[in-house]
């Protein structure tokens, strides 16, 4: 499935960035996370430790590096908490992988 390949691509991207992504959390939401066959982009939100990390990740990430263009949002953990961003967007943690996380969301 294309969504599985995309998730693998995103986690590879995050891991490949090394220190730049250190401490950040990457969440998928939107049409790709639902495996919508008509998805036209990948909705990704990255929570960052600081403004500087957010700016560095924006510079480092090529929005066209995956099967579909990345629609990338970056915000600090504080901002995300303020607006309850992860819950309200129905976003799903894909990086870092945790031992308790499933490999893929239950579509």
């Amino acid at each position: 499935m294309i969504c599985e390949r995309i998730i693998d691509g995103i986690t590879d991207l995050a891991e490949g960035l090394g220190l730049i992504s250190n401490g950040s959390e990457w969440y998928l939401f939107g049409s790709v996370s639902r495996c919508d066959p008509d998805a036209s982009d990948i909705d990704l939100i990255i929570l960052c430790r600081s403004d500087a990390q957010a700016d560095a990740l924006r510079q480092a990430i090529n929005l066209d590096c995956l099967a579909l263009p990345l629609d990338l949002g970056l915000m600090t953990f504080d901002e995300a908490a303020q607006v309850d961003a992860i819950r309200t967007q129905g976003a799903w943690l894909i990086y870092p992988r945790t031992s308790t996380s499933p490999s893929y969301p239950a579509f």
Partner: protein, 214 residues
């Protein structure tokens, strides 16, 4: 260069998603088929930053006209002149991810980003607005009856963050108002503070309509 970006987009089109490249025209446009529909022509250009009318006009000077124009990278800005020329052809434009969306909608050349059209029409219908010029795909210059012109930038994000605002300034080179594109979510306080530090505002749609009156 043109060949390489065309090859790159051809490689992104996944037959498992009901899209298939079935050939190329003499102009090196991709012939793309969606399910059993007739193929349509996709022109690919490789402008790095700002797409001008002069970048797209040669595409329409051949016997075969493209139905859809894609630029790589997708983050490049489309100027109002380039957009007008493409739409007048008639044709459509977007990212390589939009090819499938345009194809599944039926008339490929009629594909339009619904968000952009919504904002353009809503701003134009405001009682204090005389005209709206499109500077870029996501930036409008608003001519008001009372008050100075305002440069309005559409900003991605369910919840618009401070980084979204900084990124908009980096991409668009300044604006008066950054407005959240989606009807849901919110604008964070940090985003509002970041905009204020630039002498601008970060707002939601309803606030934009109120601001246009002032």
């Amino acid at each position: 260069m043109a060949g390489s970006v065309t090859d790159w987009v051809a490689g992104k089109i996944d037959p498992r998603e009901n899209l298939c490249v079935v050939g190329r025209t003499l102009e090196d446009f991709l012939l793309v088929q969606y399910k059993d529909n007739p193929p349509f022509a996709v022109a690919v250009i490789g402008v790095q930053d700002v797409i001008l009318e002069s970048h797209v006009s040669p595409l329409f000077s051949h016997a075969t006209k493209p139905d859809f124009v894609v630029n790589v990278p997708s983050k490049a800005l489309w100027t109002g002149g380039a957009i007008s020329l493409i739409h007048a052809a008639p044709a459509a434009f977007g990212t390589f991810g939009d090819i499938g969306r345009a194809a599944s909608g039926g008339k490929v050349h009629g594909f339009r980003n619904k968000n952009w059209e919504f904002f353009r029409k809503a701003i134009l219908q405001h009682t204090n607005v005389m005209a709206v010029d499109r500077l870029y795909d996501e930036v409008f210059e608003v001519h008001r009856r009372k008050g100075r012109n305002l440069k309005v930038a559409l900003v991605e994000g369910y919840h618009v963050s401070a980084e979204d605002v900084r990124n908009a300034r980096e991409r668009f080179g300044g604006f008066d108002i950054a407005v959240k594109k989606t009807g849901y979510g919110s604008v964070t306080q940090a985003a509002r503070d970041a905009a204020a530090s630039m002498g601008a505002e970060a707002v939601a749609f309803k606030e934009l309509m109120q601001r246009l009156a002032k």
